[in-house]
């Protein structure tokens, strides 16, 4: 599903990733743990092809970096679901519009289909009947649920979650993790990046694969 081959990412003299080789197989739930500045964000930016590697090759699904134009990069992102730490909901639009946005980008324009699919996604994340609520009317946990709904509404094979519980209280964070596990159980590959050691330990206890990122290198393994 994901393959990084001898990937390095440098910003001037600073090395974010250094000759990284890394694979995530279809069906994995992989947690990337590392302190702030360790290269997690660089890794995620490479996986969404927001950035291209300084050297090496990034492969996500059938898309390979280096040969992709803007249109193909957009096509790659349409095969992913991305969950952000700060939710990245559009504040001036209600939940229906926020979630339907991902569908419209996928080329779904039929209103009945949009309503049905958005309703399904919101119900799945525990926000049934909240389609007309605006983000400002929701708690942080509910906003993140909406963010997850937007990420999964297109039924992606891979979900990337960047500190999905970073802005949430423990109870809300646990609910989001439960949601991600449920999505994973349904067959979706999940890659979750976090700087929270306790969260990574907790997830490892639930059977996820853990990879640590330190000084630009990826180290496979679980540390209890």
């Amino acid at each position: 599903m994901i393959r990084l081959t001898h990937v390095s990412q440098r910003y001037g003299a600073q090395v974010a990733l250094d000759d990284v080789n890394f694979e995530v197989n279809a069906g994995d739930f992989c947690v990337v743990l590392g302190p702030s500045g360790a290269g997690k964000t660089s890794l995620l930016r490479l996986l969404t092809l927001e950035a291209l590697p300084t050297s090496g090759q990034v492969q996500v699904g059938s898309f390979v970096s280096g040969r992709l134009g803007r249109g193909q990069r957009a096509e790659l992102r349409r095969t992913l679901g991305v969950v952000f730490e700060d939710f990245k909901l559009l504040e001036d639009r209600n939940l229906f519009e926020n979630v339907a946005l991902a569908l419209r980008i996928h080329g779904v324009w039929d209103q009945a289909t949009l309503e049905r699919r958005v309703d399904e996604a919101l119900t799945r994340v525990g926000l049934p009947g909240r389609a007309h609520a605006f983000p400002r009317e929701l708690s942080a946990g509910q906003k993140q649920r909406a963010g997850v709904a937007r990420a999964i509404v297109n039924r992606p094979e891979l979900v990337l979650a960047d500190e999905p519980t970073g802005n949430l209280d423990p109870a809300a964070g646990e609910e989001i993790l439960d949601l991600l596990f449920e999505i994973h159980r349904a067959g979706t590959t999940v890659l979750l990046a976090t700087n929270n050691q306790g969260l990574a330990d907790h997830l490892a206890a639930r059977g996820t694969r853990r990879v640590e990122i330190r000084d630009g290198a990826l180290i496979e393994g679980t540390r209890q």
Binding site: T48, E50, R70, G71, A74, E75, L76, R77, R78, T79, L80, V82, K88, L90, D92, L101, A102, R104, I105, H106, W109, Q111, R150
Partner: protein, 285 residues
């Protein structure tokens, strides 16, 4: 909601979000377009005046004395077919007309014999109402055996042509200058809009929006700004026309086709201005 309706709504939403920026752009573009509108209004009125003068542009072919009527009719027939309606004026008719203009025929009686020649008055088709064509036609007709002389007020026609051409050149120059101004204003507005909406565009890009999805609302926005500005400029022009009409001259307003072309051209310029901005700015996404 259809795709187009969605993009138009997104464009409108963007304009509403950045109201002050949008209003500034509309005011700037409307000001520039008003300049073109004033010149167009002047041109429309000049054309109106010229067309009434143009009605009086004719070629007069004076005939030799004693020409057979059949020859005259043949020449009139050829002129009718080639250049426009030809009217024969006999010696007697020319005499009567002259007498009417003088207010009596006492003086003319002293002259004795009618000295005026018979003539053909040729009203040219619109495509021949310029100096070069009139001169060519006059030369051709002067070579006819029954023709004594041809007159068409060459110098006057030449001046009229020069004035019309000058007006067209000024209009073109103003239109080009204003078009460039509109392009730059819209392009800068869209650039600022893109900067102001960096985060929104980044979110859309991360959710998988391709270049078309990102650009279309901005292109529509540029076209909408320019279209609204053109409407405002036309409104101001209409108000000015209503005020000046009849003080002291009666004025005509822009023909509806001109008004439609004015708005359409503005919309295209707005679209092109947005495109200009996006060619550089959207590379980041």
């Amino acid at each position: 909601m259809s795709r187009l309706a969605y993009f138009v709504r997104e464009a409108w939403r963007g304009m509403w979000h950045h109201r002050s920026l949008t209003l500034t752009a509309i005011a700037s573009v409307a000001g520039a377009l008003l300049t073109v509108g004033v010149f167009l209004l002047f041109t429309a009125n000049a054309r109106e005046a010229l067309s009434s003068l143009g009605d009086r542009r004719e070629v007069v072919i004076y005939l030799k004395d004693g020409v057979a009527q059949m020859e005259v009719q043949a020449l009139c027939g050829r002129m009718d077919a080639l250049y426009g309606p030809a009217t024969y004026v006999s010696k007697q008719e020319a005499w009567d007309e002259f007498a009417r203009e003088l207010g009596g025929d006492e003086l003319l009686k002293a002259v004795g014999e009618n000295p005026l020649p018979a003539s053909i008055r040729l009203k040219l088709k619109p495509e021949y109402l310029h100096f070069a064509a009139m001169e060519r036609i006059a030369d051709t007709l002067a070579g006819e055996p029954i023709v004594e002389e041809v007159r068409f007020g060459g110098e006057w026609v030449r001046r009229l042509d020069r004035f019309t051409a000058g007006l067209a050149t000024i209009n073109l120059a103003v239109a080009v200058a204003v078009a460039l101004g509109v392009l730059l204003v819209v392009a800068n507005t869209i650039r600022l809009t893109v900067v102001a909406r960096r985060e929104l565009l980044r979110i859309l890009a991360l959710v998988g929006a391709g270049p078309g999805f990102l650009r279309t609302p901005l292109l529509i926005e540029g076209a909408l700004v320019a279209t609204i500005a053109a409407g405002v400029a036309l409104g101001l022009l209409a108000a000015a026309w209503a005020w000046f009409d009849g003080r002291p001259f009666a004025l005509v307003f822009l023909p509806w086709r001109w008004s439609a072309a004015f708005v359409g051209a503005a919309a295209l310029l707005g679209f092109a201005g947005s495109l200009l901005a996006l060619v550089t700015v959207s590379r980041k996404h």
